[in-house]
Symmetry: C2
């Protein structure tokens, strides 16, 4: 987690954007294993000490960049029912997090994270999306499980298998988890 609050538009936000962009660009150009703080600093146009002061070390910086990349880009789509919304969301979550890129971001997020704040942010992103879906369902008059129940029944098995048990993991599995939770047939 970055060590200071970031005010949008301020110098601090500009530094963060430049450093994050440098990490992304250099990862693509020279590969993750060749990254160093001086290299990132040079590309971002800041001093290495700016990076050390703000992020601690390279691993924490990579963790911070990874969490930013794992932030969802919009609210979950409305497909007209809880069952369809949750199924579509679970399929997309698996698609993104289970990709080689997704996996490497999750590992980075977990690794450079001494206080657990970045892992917590990843989990909060998922919980926020689930909250939108179940709230919308309740607004439609549908009966809906609470957010933590969905986290346990859908998000946790997907993430657990992505990290520990990826064999045979596919979108049919994501659909089954939702069907099992809602007690309905698969979409």
């Amino acid at each position: 987690m970055s060590r200071q609050m970031v005010r949008p538009g301020g110098r601090s936000a500009r530094v963060q954007a430049a450093v994050h962009a440098a990490v992304r660009d250099l990862s693509a150009e020279v590969g993750r294993d060749a990254l160093t703080v001086p290299l990132v600093a040079q590309r971002a146009g800041v001093t290495p000490s700016t990076i050390y002061r703000r992020w601690g070390d390279l691993r924490e910086l990579l963790s911070d960049v990874a969490v930013e990349r794992l932030r969802p880009e919009g609210t979950p789509e409305d497909h007209g029912s809880l069952r369809r919304d949750l199924t579509a969301w679970a399929e997309q979550f698996l698609d993104e997090m289970g990709s080689p890129t997704g996996r490497s971001y999750i590992r980075d997020a977990l690794l450079g994270d001494p206080d657990g704040g970045n892992a917590g942010r990843c989990s909060a992103y998922a919980a926020d999306q689930i909250r939108v879906i179940v709230t919308r369902a309740a607004d439609r008059g549908e009966e809906a499980p609470d957010v933590e129940t969905v986290m346990d029944a859908v998000v946790a098995p997907l993430m657990y298998r992505i990290l520990f048990r990826p064999d045979g993991l596919d979108s049919a599995f994501a659909r089954r988890l939702v069907a099992r939770l809602l007690g309905t047939d698969e979409v």
Copy 2:
């Protein structure tokens, strides 16, 4: 994962035991962050190149040691019923994996693991234990869920929350997961 097969009692097994013991002892003495391959090699009485050849680098070695430490020590206790066996197992799993030491082993296991083999071994340990419990239940004539269902409903939420969402994680939560899966009251 170690790069060669280990024959029990052979030189390879002795090297592995010595290197693992050196990592454990030095971690306690000088702390994890001060470990280096030459330091571990010196303590274990092997050359650094033996370690590089067999484990690749320090991170992979730490991952290998972590997985060994996460190996369960015996078969799950028999408490007379599926519900009681699974509840006791889930409480103990959370206790061990959710401790600061457990968490740091899980992180090590995940991080120095380019091919995913070590994470898979951790998951296989849990699955093996669950298999003992549900097989025993079936032998008693109890109706029992299959292993993968228990992995999704009990193991995954515990591990997900340990890594990503530890707030409020306690043994009551472990008991609730089992009760939810089996559709019975908590023990």
